[in-house]
Amino acid sequence: MEQGDFQARIDFQSRIDGDERIEPRDAMPEGYRKTLIRQIAQHAHSEIIGMQPEGNWITRAPSLRRKTILVAKVQDEAGHGLYLYSAAETLGAERDELLGLLHAGRQKYSTIFNYPTTSWADVAAIGWLVDGAAIMNQVPLTRCSYGPYARAMTRVCKEESFHQRQGFEAMTVLAAGTPEQRRMAQDALDRWWWPSLMMFGPSDGDSPNSAQSMAWGIKRFSNDELRQRFVDATVPQATHLGLTVPDPDLRWDGEHWRSGEIDWTEFYEVMRGDGPCNRERLRNRVAAHEDGAWVREAAAAYADKQAARAAA
């Protein structure tokens, strides 16, 4: 390592330790840059793939009110993806390349979006649980060491809280409805609870990279800490709804709600590509991209023509 590099590394770490932000053109270790691009890109992929499970219910929303809310929410997810791709690009990545890696299955997205939405109650459960878990993850990211990522997260978190509340409200209506609606609500909780807990990632003992991300100020809390916060926050909400959390081992230890063992085999299967909807999600994404090619080409041709006219 050259003397200059060494000094740059010390400057970088002291900036992080002093809780200062790193900005796009600052010198930064290659590992930091790569880790962030990978993480931000996969976060962006999760947002845009996440449009599919809920988009599935837009045409069948039970009322115009629910439909307009759902359209706004799904549009937000697209927006969140774009904020994040934009943040990744400040680190030297190309958006087209990142999308190419997603389409080729080489970069991943959150496992949660590979589960099917089989009833309207699933839309409610996703807002309540999945967006609730996302908020737990994303709020600490508003203080992450990389400026553009932190700023994108601030914007995302403001919008995400609408997502969680609309889901909880929809769940409240179902839980207080007819016996059939109640069953739908309970069924959705039964199916989304464990995948939501898996969203926080493997237990701390199985997350060897966390320490580095913490030292870099990217990650502020461990997977298990965040998961515990989510469980503590969500169990009383389920009780309020009169629903049962599908965990026979769930118990209150005087300070926290302790959940039973998570089936990590399922998590790794879904991550590998063998979840219920992996192929369908990716196929839809690639098709949407390819079906939109003519629009991008036409817009580029129009821009060229206008530019040529302006120059003439």
Binding site: K34, S86, L101, R106, M199, W264, R296, A303
Partner: protein, 122 residues
């Protein structure tokens, strides 16, 4: 059990942090849409502030996209879009030298001067 490293810090749930290409430094494709920096005036009386960037084939669509992306909740009353390639920036490498001239001039601040107790309007 462990199959590589995962982090949930990526927002919407755990994603792998190893065994995945970063996508950094990939060559731009010939027809990539240009990048635009977006500035929004949040209310009359305030300056435009940088909010982020987006891709669009031309200025007209960049403005439309900026409206849809950055003002879905009435966050702005006016938008500027600027081709990112046209932004000229100071270099972080020469940051110290570049901003040094102001470093030894505390007398430019009112706090440099002492004011006798009991006097106001100074």
């Amino acid at each position: 059990m462990s199959e590589g490293a995962f982090t949930a810090a990526g927002g919407h749930g755990a994603v792998p942090t190893t065994g995945v290409p970063s996508g950094e430094g990939a060559p731009a494709r010939p027809r990539a849409q240009p990048l635009w920096e977006v500035f929004v005036r949040s209310a009359r009386g305030l300056s435009h502030t940088h909010v982020g960037s987006l891709h669009a084939p031309d200025a007209h669509l960049a403005l439309r996209n900026a409206r849809d992306l950055y003002t879905r909740r009435q966050e702005g009353v006016s938008i500027w879009v600027v081709p990112a390639a046209e932004v000229v920036a100071s270099s972080p490498d020469e940051k110290d030298a570049f901003f040094d001239p102001a470093g030894d001039k505390p007398y430019r601040h009112p706090t440099f001067y002492s004011v006798p107790d009991g006097l106001t309007h100074l």
